[in-house]
């Protein structure tokens, strides 16, 4: 077990609140914010609750994420989902690749959000990789270089921003960092996926990337220029952010909608 000595026990709390300026009814929703056991993390305790007597179920989506979905019939103006629990993180530094459900090919193909245009293609050309650079080293070099050309700024990009337009802008949020890294990895024909989760010390959900290196998914966090370690809890993964929408809703009525997230991840002592 690699990295077995750096397991952290994390206590996590994830709250999602949606408010509507007018009353809504017949509210159907689905949410991807339920962490599950992987090779890296073990969920020791998990509490899921929703407001307004929602009738909920959990299913696996096609990326094997845990999808919480349900319906609220009665009229309401706000709705919340609360996920909390404890997890051991950093059990392994990678996750073994399994051919199910997709095989790697689906992660090699650029998507609407990651398809490179002129500026990303130009940027990609500037990388020089050594003959001896394996997939992992190439991915690492890509991550290490992104902060030189892209900086963190919230409010300059929107949720449907493509990697190309964010890159051209030169600034964005974790979603943009992840999309840019995905574009570059896929230009290198490295299968890569988008990951959403929680991170120690972060007040909202975070996004990073996993690259498939010699049969193992390794986590890279380009926003923090850091390898994914025992401070990260994964909630979902997919080809890009559109596969990982934290919440989707469909209802009658509405008006202005507001959504807010609050995340708290703290380290707790491991009691033997």
């Amino acid at each position: 077990m690699r990295g077995g000595d750096i397991i952290k026990r994390l206590k996590f709390n994830y709250d999602l609140t949606a408010t509507y300026s007018e009353e809504i009814s017949n509210h159907n929703f689905s949410a991807l914010c339920v962490p599950q056991d992987t090779q890296r993390q073990k969920i020791l305790e998990l509490n899921i609750s929703t407001d307004k007597d929602a009738v909920c179920q959990i299913t696996n989506d096609s990326f094997l994420n845990k999808k919480l979905y349900g319906k609220i019939k009665a009229p309401h103006t706000s709705f919340g989902i609360h996920i909390s629990g404890t997890a051991d993180a950093g059990i392994d530094i990678f996750e073994e690749f399994t051919d199910y459900p997709f095989g790697a090919i689906i992660y090699k193909t650029q998507t609407e959000l990651t398809r490179p245009g002129e500026s990303l293609t130009r940027y990609h050309k500037h990388f020089t990789f050594e003959e001896s650079d394996g997939v992992y080293n190439r991915a690492l070099k890509i991550m290490r270089d992104i902060p030189n050309v892209f900086s963190y700024n919230s409010g300059s990009t929107h949720i449907h921003e493509t990697s190309e337009s964010a890159f051209t802008l030169g600034k964005g949020v974790c979603q943009d960092y992840a999309h840019i890294m995905l574009s570059l990895l896929r230009m290198e024909h490295i299968p890569a996926r988008y990951v959403v989760g929680m991170m120690l010390g972060e007040g909202s959900s975070h996004a990073w990337v996993e690259a498939l290196c010699s049969g193992y998914w390794y986590g890279f966090d380009p926003t923090n220029n850091k390898l994914v370690n025992d401070e990260y809890i994964r909630m979902s993964c997919g080809r890009d952010s559109s596969d990982c929408s934290v919440i989707k809703g469909s209802f009658y009525g509405g008006g202005v909608q507001n959504q807010s997230e609050s995340v708290l991840v703290e380290e707790i002592d491991v009691k033997d």
Binding site: N28, S30, T59, D61, S62, Y69, K71, I105, R239, S250
Partner: protein, 438 residues
């Protein structure tokens, strides 16, 4: 034949009254236009139909194998028959469908296969429509009206009765029904094919409904009738596209779908006809590979030919396309309904060089085809003079326990003498299609 021509005007008037219309959105405006009917039928001889039948069944069976493979093991990609890029970058590939098997493993229950006959009498496949192919109701109702106006024509000429379409369709629905009623899910009366939705519901005994009257509970699908009573639904013949089907899985803003229907489908609690995700098989880029698919899955040679097609994606084909540009028709793989079709010879030299640049930078986006010299069919022009026009044939292939070809079809023609584009959304008309029984 004269009997039919004589009544042509009356029949068109009746068709208009029944609401046989084609609604289209153009420039953000909804316009309803009549779908003009021409009284001179296309006639297909018995032998010729048997040949078409054989080829169409083979094609649809192979396409069903392909869909089941792509959303399953993906063997055809692993065996490098089709480049993965053509599958996973296709708009029609829907990740949520991966690993989901539809009831009885049928993906395309109702396939609309478009063919043309060339002047040398060969039939060529133009495209496969495996998502929500429309148009079967038009020849059905036109035949009904013609039969009423000139019953002798049909008995004297040994024309195969086409009234069994509803029966075939019902069989298809019953075959995959998971327990409950059959419904036809329409987006509503503003849809281009609303006439067809209501007509087919009436003929098959299925309930005509919209998303508003449907609900999912505990992964089961229900229809709520006017009394508020819930009835379990075992099969949905949906006439809305995949993207709008379930806002919780696909396009979130959809107001015509049914939230969570995909979960009910995934768990095998209802059939969706046709299965979601079929768009990956009727993509124009994939069309090129269908003869290879037939060989790969069925071990047979394709009975019906594709129009000669080139994929600029392959270097060799790109060379050919560039040096024969003026003789080819180039199609954008993402477009349908006669849009995104460019005849090389029709471009001015400026536009041509722009187009070639685009082709070079996005080779995956286009296919190029030889222009087939269509066999013209006569239509009744002004003052009842017969004039030749380009026409195609949409054959309806229905897969239930076995795959059957409906012995009729929708023959569409271009009203413009210089046009090859016959799509109803581009102002074409239609004819009845007679299959002779001897």
């Amino acid at each position: 034949m004269n009997d039919l021509i004589k009544n042509s005007e009356t029949i068109n008037r009746l068709l208009a009254r029944y609401g046989v219309k084609f609604g289209i959105y153009k420039n953000g405006e909804f316009k309803e236009q009549l779908f003009p009917f021409d009284p001179i039928p296309r006639v297909i001889k018995k032998d010729e139909f048997s040949y078409l039948e054989k080829g169409l069944r083979q094609r649809v069976d192979a396409l069903n194998c392909f869909l089941s493979d792509i959303y399953g093991k993906k063997q055809i990609v692993r065996d490098r028959i089709i480049p993965e890029e053509f599958i996973f970058s296709a708009k029609g590939f829907l990740a949520p469908c991966d690993g989901v098997s539809p009831p009885k493993n049928i993906y395309s229950h109702i396939s609309g296969i478009d063919l043309v006959q060339s002047k040398d009498d060969n039939w060529y496949i133009l495209e496969d429509n495996l998502r929500v192919p429309s148009g079967a109701s038009y020849p059905l109702i036109a035949r009904e009206l013609q039969r009423r106006s000139a019953p002798d024509v049909f008995t004297d000429n040994s024309i195969t009765d086409n009234r069994n379409y509803a029966e075939l369709l019902k069989e298809v629905m019953d075959n995959v029904n998971t327990g409950g009623i059959n419904v036809i899910l329409s987006p509503g009366r503003y849809n281009a094919a609303f006439f067809e939705h209501s007509y087919l519901a009436e003929k098959t005994g299925a309930v005509l409904t919209t998303g508003k009257d449907m609900v999912c509970e505990n992964d089961n699908l229900y229809y709520i009738d006017y009394n508020g009573k819930k009835q379990r639904v075992g099969a949905v013949y949906r006439r809305i596209s995949d993207e709008y089907l379930d806002p919780m899985t696909f396009y979130e803003e959809s107001v015509i779908g049914i939230p969570h229907i995909f979960e009910a489908y995934k768990k095998g609690n209802t059939a969706i006809i046709n299965a979601p995700g079929n768009g990956v098989a009727d993509d124009k880029g994939i069309y090129y590979f269908v003869p290879k698919m037939i060989k790969y899955y069925l071990g047979e040679d394709a009975v019906l030919m594709n129009a000669p097609t080139y994929l600029p994606y392959y270097e060799e084909d790109m060379k050919y396309v560039l040096s024969n540009f003026d003789n080819l028709v180039i199609k954008d793989v993402a477009e349908a309904g006669g849009y995104g079709v460019v005849f090389g010879s029709s471009l001015t030299s400026d536009k041509k060089s722009d187009f070639i640049e685009m082709l070079k930078s996005q080779p995956r986006r286009f296919i190029a085809q030889e222009i087939i010299d269509f066999y013209d069919l006569d239509i009744l022009g002004e003052n009842n003079v017969r004039v030749p026009r380009k026409a195609d044939l949409r054959a309806f292939v229905l897969t239930g326990k076995t795959t059957k070809v409906w012995a009729s079809g929708l023959t569409r023609f271009s009203r413009n003498p210089d046009s090859f584009i016959v799509n109803s959304s581009q102002g074409g008309g239609f004819k009845d299609t007679w299959v002779l029984s001897r």
